[in-house]
């Protein structure tokens, strides 16, 4: 219990550092280019336009209001991809600092995931624009969105911690993970709909083993369909998030004292 209180105290001691790191990431991202923040909106919009044009022809069966369908899944997936990618490198990149001064190492990982989350929330404007442009109805269920984002945020923190510590010991994890991410994207119903065209085993695999399915289904439910998400995906989402966090924190905690020898 003392240890927990101590940890919470250090966390608060460094809260300004976390804020500054998050602010720095956003500042660097938006600085220098004239469009700055606009890029954050434009980027998903343009990708959405391209994908909509390509896939509305490619996919045999038309998905109604494809732009909103696509965006409501893709934004969450992109957040997961960016945040875990950045989190993975967070310890190694800060090596010169960590070699010199004692700072809780998770701060860097945590702040990376957080800055990606903030970036994603800011770019939600893109989704709103598309919804207005396509005349999509705003359902009351959309109010649940913060909770879905929170679930995914917790999940990404966990995965980020796990990858960050692994990357310290094995630098080629980066390459392996980028392959995993590509495969992961195709196994997640982002650009397509998981319907009866797919074999049964694929349904089972995606619904049973792909965490992203839980978050994307929830977001689709509340934005695109206007349904309240079913208990299975809603509570499942929370469960997976905390499970990932537990694994991440445990693995990070276990090896963090050895980091300095390898960076």
């Amino acid at each position: 219990m003392d240890l927990l209180r101590y940890r919470i105290r250090t966390f608060f001691k460094y809260k300004d550092l976390i804020k500054e790191l998050v602010a720095r990431d956003l500042r660097l991202k938006y600085r220098r280019s004239f469009l700055g923040y606009v890029w954050s909106i434009l980027n998903p919009l343009l990708t959405m336009v391209v994908l909509s044009i390509v896939f509305s022809h490619l996919l045999g069966k038309k998905i109604e209001n494809y732009p909103v369908y696509l965006l409501s899944g893709r934004m969450l997936y992109d957040f997961m991809k960016n945040s875990t990618n950045n989190a993975m490198r967070s310890v190694v990149v800060n090596a010169p600092l960590l070699r010199k001064v004692y700072v809780p190492k998770y701060i860097f990982t945590f702040s990376k995931v957080t800055s990606c989350m903030v970036d994603m929330v800011l770019s939600l404007v893109a989704l709103i624009i598309v919804m207005i442009a396509t005349g999509t109805e705003f359902h009351v269920t959309i109010l649940l969105l913060p909770l879905v984002i929170l679930q995914l945020y917790i999940f990404c923190c966990g995965l980020g911690f796990f990858l960050a510590q692994l990357n310290v010991f094995f630098r080629d994890i980066q390459y392996i993970y980028s392959v995993v991410l590509t495969a992961w994207m195709y196994c997640t119903p982002i650009i397509y709909k998981l319907d009866e065209r797919f074999p049964r085993w694929f349904h089972i695999a995606v619904k049973g083993f792909n965490p992203m399915y839980y978050y994307i289904s929830q977001s689709r439910d509340i934005i695109y369909y206007g349904n309240w998400p079913g208990p299975r995906i809603f509570w499942g989402g929370w469960l997976i998030a905390f499970l990932a966090l537990a694994i991440g924190v445990w693995s990070f905690q276990r090896s963090k004292d050895k980091f300095v020898l390898y960076i």
Binding site: K13, Y14, D16, L17, K19, E20, L21, R24, R27, L28, R31, R32, V92, V93, N94, A95, P96, L97, L98, R99, K100, V101, Y102, V103, F169, F170, R171, D172, I173, I176, D257, V260, L261, Y262
Partner: protein
């Protein structure tokens, strides 16, 4: 704890490291399957116990790898002891070079905040003390420029200012201050003295023993991870210094004794193991003369010395690119080295815009968007005509009358001023006689027929040249002569000619360069081996990224880090490595006087860059050395 700030008891630090560094999964798996994964226990520290009272100042000395930094890291909590305990009472402030591990695009202002927060201060606290920090560091002007333009000295300055903004209980200083200039070091020392008086405990690591002696009351001498000696800093430092000297002398004596025991006498003593000395030694040896090569430095190859740092050949004394039009020289050097096809095409950076060098159509296109040589020639002619300079009075006017204001302002002015440490208006016009402009799209800096970098670095060349030659390092010529003048008949001297004559007419002047070399955890820092910074505001003249000299090595063996050197032009003072002779009238006259003296020395031949006080490219060095040997042995010159 009470009185003690730090109590270290029986600390042992054990690293369980793989015998070879395995940092990727692929190798790890292969080694695991083949049962080749060997772990080696390495005791970085053992039996370390001491107590430091509050307000004391302690220095840590010892050779590289003796565990000084490890010990400080353990005290700071970065490393956990394997056995024993470390108790610390109070807040530790380590001195971190500003910008460490931080995005180089952030400005100094942002870095100050970040650095303070990393040290555990609150934002509010930093805002309150911001002005104080800036004032101490004396860098107000640069607050909003990105940290990547800062020299290590400037970064250390800011780092020191942040770390000492309040008197920390314990200040940890690890080698960081070596980089700043004298004035700033003095300022830091004063501040540290002040803090000591105010009750701060200081832990100080430095290779500079004098600074340990002046700053610290106590010292610990570490050797091989153990405490060798502990006590007052005067005594410990004295003992450590004596030991260091003893070791160097012992090494030297051992070598000399060996040579003497062999009963060897030499025909030639060659002073300086650089390229000139090595070529001369090889050619003389090949023709049956016995040579002994000595060098002051503790490595061979003089200024073309390259050192393998983590698999990258680092040009320790500045970029060397071999180029020649002399086919014989090219064939000669290719017998002792394999060359790659590196072509020097530097890039100039001016206010975030990049321009190709040497001045060619690519440069002009970037400057004006003009595409044909005719347009460019007209443009330049018009610009020059507009100025109406008939008789250039200084370098600025000279350059303007050759290339016009655009090229001059962006690509020549700042660079030249940094090089000479003076305004272009105050420089004589003869420094620039000619500024070649190329009206083709060709970025190859040299016009020579052959060009390249020896694969595996230059040191290998000199090693090969000296294969069958006796070499003694760490040996000063004048000292050696005192005792061993009977060991040789003649001398080939490649050191400073004025030093040989004891500066009897005064010092010849040199321009010199200083390098700050840094490892960066990035695969590719600037995408080119050489980038010149032509703005006055950037303190360095250029950045060398060493791995790009050997692209084939990088392809075979990609690395996710790189090594860069920032190059600063500095005023030369007696005692620092001289680089380029200053060929102005005053120095030329002075050199002629020394040359007259040299001609009277019948048994000494003067040669090389310092011995003949002139700038030599490497190919010219080889030509000159061969010529000297030919003349000396009275044989037909072969190069």
């Amino acid at each position: 704890m009470g009185n003690y700030a730090i109590e270290v008891e029986n600390v042992k630090i054990r690293f369980n490291l793989a015998s070879e560094r395995v940092d990727n999964l692929k190798e790890y798996t292969i080694k695991l399957v083949k049962h080749e994964l060997m772990f080696q226990e390495f005791l970085a520290l053992q039996d370390i116990s001491f107590k430091i009272k509050k307000g004391e100042s302690w220095g840590f000395v010892g050779p590289n790898g003796s565990g000084k930094s490890t010990l400080l890291k353990t005290i700071s909590g970065i490393l956990q002891p394997y056995e024993g305990s470390v108790k610390v009472d109070g807040r530790i402030a380590p001195l971190i070079e500003l910008g460490a591990g931080v995005d180089p695009n952030l400005t100094a202002r942002e870095n100050i905040y970040l650095n303070g927060l990393v040290l555990g201060h609150s934002r509010e606290f930093m805002e309150k003390h911001f002005d104080e920090i800036v004032e101490f560091s004396n860098l107000e002007k640069f607050l909003d420029s990105p940290i990547k333009n800062f020299s290590s000295g400037m970064k250390a300055r800011l780092g020191f200012a942040v770390a000492t903004v309040v008197n920390p209980d314990i200040l940890v200083v690890d080698e960081v201050l070596e980089v700043g200039d004298m004035k700033f070091r003095r300022k830091c020392n004063e501040r540290m003295q002040q803090m000591l008086a105010g009750g701060t405990t200081l832990l100080y690591v430095s290779h500079n023993i004098e600074s340990v002696q002046t700053l610290c009351d106590n010292a610990i001498w570490l050797d091989g991870g153990k405490i060798r000696m502990m006590g007052s800093s005067q005594e410990v430092c004295e003992a450590y210094r004596e030991e260091q000297e003893r070791e160097i002398t012992a090494r030297r004596e051992e070598r000399r004794a060996k040579l003497r025991a062999a009963g060897k006498k030499y025909d030639y003593l060659i002073v300086g193991a650089g390229l000139y000395g090595a070529v001369a030694a090889k050619e003389l040896t090949r023709r049956g003369r016995r040579c002994l090569v000595i060098d002051k430095r503790s490595h061979i190859a003089g200024n073309i010395y390259t050192e393998n740092v983590d698999g990258i050949q680092v040009h320790k004394y500045g970029a060397h690119i071999f180029h020649t039009s002399n086919e014989k020289v090219w064939k000669y050097i290719n017998k002792v080295a394999d060359f790659n096809n590196y072509i020097n095409s530097p890039v100039a950076s001016y206010k975030d815009e990049l321009y190709n060098l040497p001045f060619n159509m690519n440069t002009f296109y970037k400057l004006w968007g003009l595409k044909t040589p005719k347009e460019v020639q007209e443009k330049i002619a018009a610009q020059i005509a507009e100025l109406g300079i008939t008789e250039p009075k200084n370098l600025e006017e000279q350059a303007l009358s050759l290339v016009g204001p655009d090229v001059y302002e962006k690509l020549i002015k700042g660079y030249t001023e940094k090089q000479w440490g003076r305004d272009c208006k105050d420089l004589p016009s003869f420094i620039i006689r000619r500024l070649p402009l190329r009206f083709t799209y060709n970025n190859n800096y040299f016009n020579d027929r052959y060009q390249g970098i020896p694969i595996g670095g230059y040191t290998g060349i000199v090693e090969k040249l000296l294969e069958n030659v006796d070499v003694m390092l760490d040996t000063d010529f004048f000292e050696y002569c005192k005792e061993h003048s009977d060991m040789f008949k003649k001398v080939i001297y490649t050191g400073m000619i004025d030093e040989y004559f004891d500066f009897c007419y005064g010092h010849l002047e040199y321009r010199t360069v200083r390098f700050e070399t840094e490892r960066i955890e990035e695969a590719n820092y600037q995408g080119n081996a050489v980038v010149n910074y032509t703005e006055r505001e950037v303190p360095y003249t250029r950045i060398i990224e060493h791995k790009h000299f050997e692209p084939e090595e990088e392809q075979r063996n990609p690395k996710d880090y790189t090594i860069i050197s920032r190059e600063y032009s500095t005023e030369w003072k007696p005692g620092i490595d001289p680089y380029y002779p200053v060929n102005d009238e005053k120095n030329s006259v002075l050199y002629e006087k020394y040359r007259a003296l040299a001609q009277q020395e019948k048994n000494v031949i003067f040669g090389g860059r310092l011995g003949s006080y002139r700038y030599y490219d490497m190919d010219k060095v080889i030509e000159a050395a061969c010529e000297t040997v030919a003349k000396e042995l009275n044989i037909r010159p072969w190069i």
